[in-house]
Structure formats: structure tokens, C-alpha cells
């Protein structure tokens, strides 16, 4: 995992002073069925946007807290990187969207029987949300409800 001292000085200062939230006690969700029978969904923070969907807004103060829905059978080549941050290297994701949204890999794991199946919908947020109030109050619960509606047993968060 990258260390904070690998970042520019100004960003280090911001991250060290930032009032990070945590949930206490740490919640724990247990698998309700064997993994091989479970339905899995991906949640990325890479700001990925499927063809035809609205781009993330880089100008929203405190960060754009909305999310995009990506279908399980989406063509990864048609998904665009709209993340506003320059604090990470975008070149890998430009070559292979699986780095941030490993849909192809999840399909393979389903075929191999490691997981049961893919959820019909996967979610994309754009990180760099410095004011997460609307995320906590509105869009994160909406995302959780959507995953529950789809009968998701396992959600894998892929932060960039």
C-alpha cells in the first residue's frame, strides 16, 4: 500500500490534518452463504463513467458525491476515466480498466466457481470527496439500497 511520504508535501500536509471519519465499533458483516453461491458487486472510486452517462463534475465544492451505475455486461473499453484528481497515476487505468473495475476478472472468478455470480449493477464514485456529508447522508445509503435490491452478498470496494 502506498505510503503518505511518497506524496507531494502539500498533499501530505492536507492528508495529515484531515479529520478522517471512522465507525466505532468497527462493523462486521458475515457471509450469509458460501462464497461460491454469493453474488458479488464492485464499487470503484476511480470516477469511471459508462458510455452515455453523465460525467462527474470536477467543480463541485467538496467533491461530487454522486455515483454511476455500470452494468455487469458493460464493455470496459467504453468506460471513461473522469476522476478529477492528479494525485494518482491514471496511465494504468487508461490501459486497462480492470485495474479499478475488475469486471473481467470477476467474470472469470464466477466461471471458475470461486464466486457464485456477478451482480447486475456495479457502482462508480469519484473519490477526492473532501466534504463527505452528502455522501454519508444521501448517496452512500442510496448505493447500499441499490445493492440490497440486487441481492448482493459481497461488495468489493476498489479505491484508487
Amino acid at each position: 500500500m502506498p505510503k503518505i511520504d511518497e506524496l507531494p508535501l502539500w498533499l501530505r500536509a492536507v492528508l495529515l490534518a484531515y479529520p478522517w471519519r471512522r465507525i466505532e465499533p468497527v462493523p462486521v458483516a458475515r457471509l450469509r452463504k458460501p462464497l461460491a453461491q454469493s453474488r458479488a458487486a464492485l464499487v470503484t472510486t476511480a470516477g469511471l463513467v459508462p458510455a452515455g452517462a453523465r460525467a462527474f463534475d470536477p467543480h463541485v465544492r467538496g467533491g461530487d458525491t454522486s455515483f454511476r451505475v455500470i452494468a455487469a455486461d458493460a464493455d470496459l473499453a467504453q468506460i471513461a476515466d473522469h476522476h478529477r484528481s492528479n494525485s494518482f497515476d491514471h496511465s494504468g487505468i487508461a490501459k486497462d480498466r480492470n485495474l479499478a473495475l475488475p469486471l473481467d476478472r470477476l467474470r472469470e472468478l464466477s466461471t471458475e466457481g470461486i464466486i457464485g455470480e456477478l451482480a447486475p449493477r456495479h457502482l462508480s464514485f469519484m473519490g477526492s470527496i473532501t466534504a463527505p456529508g452528502r455522501l454519508i447522508r444521501d448517496t452512500a445509503p442510496q448505493a447500499a439500497t441499490l445493492l440490497e435490491e440486487d441481492g448482493v452478498d459481497v461488495a468489493l470496494l476498489v479505491p484508487v
Binding site: 462464497l35 497515476d89 485495474l99 479505491p159
Partner: protein
């Protein structure tokens, strides 16, 4: 995700990977490595001794 941030936020289960920001699944085009990362990540689901911060080693 940064190690220091993960330690502060304490998500229930997290996998630390040895690559730069922007490369959470490793190398572009390396499906075998990406699949291995996901398999280790999925293995954490059986852990209930949260918070779990596991390190992925290549």
C-alpha cells in the same frame, strides 16, 4: 488507498497492495495477478476479527 489513511479509517477488511496509487490491482493487462489480488481480497470475507488490514505480497 494510503496505508496511513486506512489505519485511521479502519474499514472492517482491507488489503494493502504494494503498488502506487492508481494501480490497486497491480499491472495493466496482467489478468493472473489481478485475479490473485481479488482471490486474496475475497478470502478476507471469512475473517471476523475486524479491523483486518492484510498485506498482499507478490
Amino acid at each position: 488507498m494510503l496505508a496511513e489513511v486506512t489505519e485511521k479509517v479502519q474499514p472492517p477488511r482491507a488489503l494493502s497492495v504494494p503498488w502506487p496509487l492508481g494501480f490497486p490491482l497491480g499491472a495493466p493487462g496482467d489478468g493472473a495477478l489481478q485475479r490473485q489480488v481479488l482471490r486474496v481480497l475475497l478470502s478476507l470475507l471469512s475473517r471476523t476479527d475486524v479491523p483486518v488490514l492484510e498485506r498482499f505480497s507478490v
